[in-house]
Symmetry: C2
Subunit: 324 residues, 2 copies
């Protein structure tokens, strides 16, 4: 049995870039351990240096392959790259990592790459909170670029991809082109649109459709300082990645030095605070209500009240005189 | 434009079995409309008559086909059957219903069958609450059997399938048999195990594996009054459905008249109260914090505090002197 390393000690080792400490502290953030909070709070002060890139797209859009190739390219340029993959099927994450990440075998022995899969369920809806804590940990640990990869199904996943410095939406030809990004509400969140699999002959159609849709729209109206590019890439031939890296770098520079970029950082901070606060609130309620709930449940079974009024009463009784 | 029908009026029409009113009130429950709460609370008093069956299994296990066939059989026996399908890919629910439910075309013109897909995201984690409200609405509307179908990925989905009178776990041959139910933590929640696709030659192996695993286990220790059956069915040949319906009926009778059945109803009521209370709490917080959050977000961006301490402060400031 290895000893329990206090989170404060882990945090110190995170700052030295120790991968073991990074992995353990992310696990504690994911589990929502109270003991880890002071350490995470401390690391926040050291974070804010990395470029955080959210990458999303529907299943089959080629996200994971793009992320692998992009990471390898950035690595060649000397950057340390962290990848956080949000896995929607939590109980299967073991299998899913294997399936999804098999292409990443080239990367996994490189200490300048860190790949991590996060569960999406449980932990009191704390996925967004935990993901943002994990970003801070990697950031404080010296990772230059941190990619948050989410599958673009589900509001939570799309929101997390959006809560980054630069959001990339990946579309692929042949998936019912014009509608895939719209359907998930992903069209308007993209700072950069990428069409993957551009070695295929039908990719041009997807590129044209996307460009047309963007010119139609007030979609980019909240980006006064940035023209959303639509880039074609092929992970197979390697084409388009120079342009993608260039677009990511340019977008970051714009975001750092404009008022619209600052407004976005404030919006992300608000999202993060809301998620963290919700998490704290639900934890406190779970603690405060645990002894009272069985009695209330008996009353509900006996139909001595309805679910709404009894839940209301349970909240009041749990917090009593105290504020939550 | 049709006029806005008050929820109280809809509730009255639900009790008369009007499908239009049922559909609208479920939508309001799903949206978490405050205006609908008194009506939903009122319907709770009229619910509790239906047999609620949770059916879950991994993707590809043949759940939807089983549910369709089961519904048709129960219908032949004279029961009114409601089906609530929990769809994990909310933004695609349109497409998903179509894909999943195409086999149900025989059923959709029968007024004794009601099929409804629920979104899994958004609404402040209110999926469980909304689903249980929908069950009450169908129950009060005269549906005799209500099937909650969830895909067995994700803790929330499995929990909802469990929060029913009788939980059925579906496994299929050829999916990596022995492990599929275990992986998702579904093995122990089953009151009835079903192996689908028993027209296939490899189904026997799945049946044997499952039976063996059940005899091994303390898995059924919390079911003193019930021996968990493992049934083979084929929606293709129709075999096994008589046995399944018999098992469901027997399980219900046992659940209604034993102490273990009562304990389960209390546990489900506790789960429901917790979910409803969490929902209320998050709504109140969202309301109370909305004006304060931008200021706190500015402070977080300026690093005048960390996410945890600022979230804590935001909760305190939102609820002020008031209890939540």
């Amino acid at each position: 049995m290895s000893r329990y390393v206090p989170s404060a000690e882990l945090a110190g080792r995170v700052v030295n870039g120790e991968v073991y400490a990074i992995a353990r502290l992310i696990s504690r953030a994911e589990a929502g351990l109270t003991e880890a909070r002071a350490a995470l709070a401390g690391l926040y002060a050291r974070a804010g240096r990395a470029h955080v890139i959210g990458i999303t797209g529907v299943p089959g859009s080629g996200k994971s392959t793009l992320v692998s190739t992009l990471a390898a390219r950035l690595r060649t340029g000397g950057s340390k790259v962290g990848i956080i993959a949000i896995d929607p099927s939590s109980p299967y994450s073991g299998g899913s990592i294997l399936g999804d990440r098999i292409r990443m075998t080239d990367l996994v022995n490189d200490p300048g790459i860190y790949i991590r899969s996060m569960a999406t369920r449980g932990a009191m809806g704390g996925m967004a909170r935990a993901t943002m804590d994990a970003v801070d940990i990697l950031d404080a640990g010296g990772f230059d670029t941190i990619v948050i990869e989410t599958v673009g199904v589900g509001q939570d996943e799309v929101e997390i991809a959006r809560a980054s410095d630069t959001t990339v939406v990946v579309s692929a030809p042949g998936l019912g082109d014009e509608i895939q990004a719209i359907k998930a509400g992903m069209l308007e969140i993209a700072d950069v649109h990428v069409v993957s699999k551009c070695d295929r002959s039908d990719a041009n159609r997807t590129l044209t459709d996307l460009k047309q849709m963007l010119t139609l729209g007030a979609l980019t109206a909240d980006r006064p300082d940035w023209q959303v590019p639509v880039l074609g890439i092929s992970s197979y031939t390697g084409s388009g990645f120079d342009e993608l890296i260039d677009a990511l770098t340019r977008h970051r520079a714009v975001a750092l030095h404009t008022e619209s970029g600052r407004r976005r950082r404030v919006a992300i901070a608000g999202f993060r605070l809301a998620k963290t606060a919700e998490n704290l609130l639900l934890e406190r309620f779970a603690r405060a209500s645990s002894e009272l709930t069985p009695d209330f449940a008996e009353r509900l079974v006996r139909h001595e009240g309805d679910p709404y009024s009894l839940a209301n009463e349970l909240v009041a009784a749990s917090f009593g005189k105290e504020d939550p």
